[in-house]
């Protein structure tokens, strides 16, 4: 089993546990189940729990012809559980999803975001505006939801990704980094990190934490941050790096 499969499986089991209202440790015996089957099980459980709410959502959506959209969005938040809203968002065309997301409150949207399936929701998430993504990301960081946040930012536009990285506090960057999918967009976001944010990472993280971050992202990607270290601080950082053969990246 690859590390990626194991991480994906733990995330899916965590989602199932959240849906069932139990701790992840209470969902046992699923270690050998393929990730796609866990995703299907999650969808089936969501339908079993919230399928009836779908009709309620359709009725509320029908009110848009009679009421201002702001009132309709308010009603949706009051009557549609986030779990059902997440399934609706996954099924919407990206443009419609972006419009809906723009009208929801940040706190409700954060509750929905935690429940989104990263694969099925990717079209809608990638259509979210950078401002909206940053707002939700900061709420999720404040709640300590770093793995889920990584799923979210892995799916957003390159512009939104760069905005998130620039807005994140150093300790949130440290916590979310191990879960990020590295690709050209993330490389560009790190390379384009504003100088003051790179400086904040260098100043606020300890040498050991910087070394952990370097292991997560690769030391070469951390160059804009390391450039802010003086000779002594750099030596302390380097002393905490594991030998190259023991690094994950």
């Amino acid at each position: 089993m690859s590390g990626t499969d194991d991480r994906a499986r733990r995330l899916q089991v965590g989602r199932i546990a959240r849906l069932l209202g139990v701790a992840p440790d209470d969902v046992t015996g699923l270690d050998g189940v393929p990730v796609e089957d866990l995703r299907t099980l999650h969808a089936q459980m969501t339908e079993a729990l919230f399928g009836d709410a779908r009709a309620g959502f359709a009725k509320i959506a029908g009110l848009t012809a009679l009421l201002p959209t702001a009132v309709t969005a308010l009603l949706a938040e009051r009557f549609v559980p986030p779990e059902m809203a997440a399934r609706v968002c996954e099924a919407l065309p990206p443009e419609a999803g972006r419009d809906l997301v723009a009208r929801l409150s940040v706190s409700y949207l954060a509750a929905v975001a935690v429940l989104l399936d990263p694969v099925r929701a990717r079209p809608v998430v990638s259509a979210m505006t950078p401002d909206r993504v940053v707002e939700v990301t900061l709420v999720l960081f404040a709640r300590g939801e770093h793995p889920v946040t990584a799923d979210l930012v892995n799916a957003v536009s390159a512009e939104a990704l760069a905005a998130c990285l620039a807005a994140a506090e150093p300790y949130d960057v440290l916590a979310v980094a191990p879960y990020l999918e590295w690709g050209p967009a993330l490389d560009a976001a790190v390379a384009g990190l504003p100088d003051d944010r790179a400086g904040a990472l260098a100043a606020e993280l300890t040498p050991a934490e910087l070394a952990d971050l370097a292991v997560s992202v690769g030391p070469e990607r951390l160059a804009p941050v390391l450039a802010h270290l003086d000779e002594t601080a750099y030596a302390a950082y380097a002393a905490h790096l594991p030998p190259p053969g023991q690094r994950r990246i």
């Binding site: 849906l19 015996g29 699923l30 050998g32 029908g62 009603l75 009051r78 009557f79």
Partner: protein, 74 residues
């Protein structure tokens, strides 16, 4: 992993309203039964919470549209 038969009386199938995916259907009975029990209890809890939340939420809907909303949701 051995394939378990999926009888029509399988509690997880009943709770889901459909047969689970193959990787779940082949799990031991005790694992499937525990999932079914967790799902059934969650549904009961949510139904109770939903009724209370709707009653509470309707009190926050502006009075001029409260009747319309109540009729729409009923």
């Amino acid at each position: 992993m051995s394939q378990h038969p999926r009888p029509s009386g399988d509690p997880l199938t009943r709770a889901l309203g459909a047969g689970p995916p193959p990787g779940v259907a082949s799990l031991p009975d005790d694992v499937r039964d525990r999932l079914a029990d967790q799902l059934t209890r969650r549904r009961e809890t949510l139904l109770a919470e939903g009724r209370a939340a709707t009653d509470h939420a309707l009190r926050h809907v502006p009075l001029p549209v409260r009747g319309l909303v109540r009729r729409t949701l009923s």
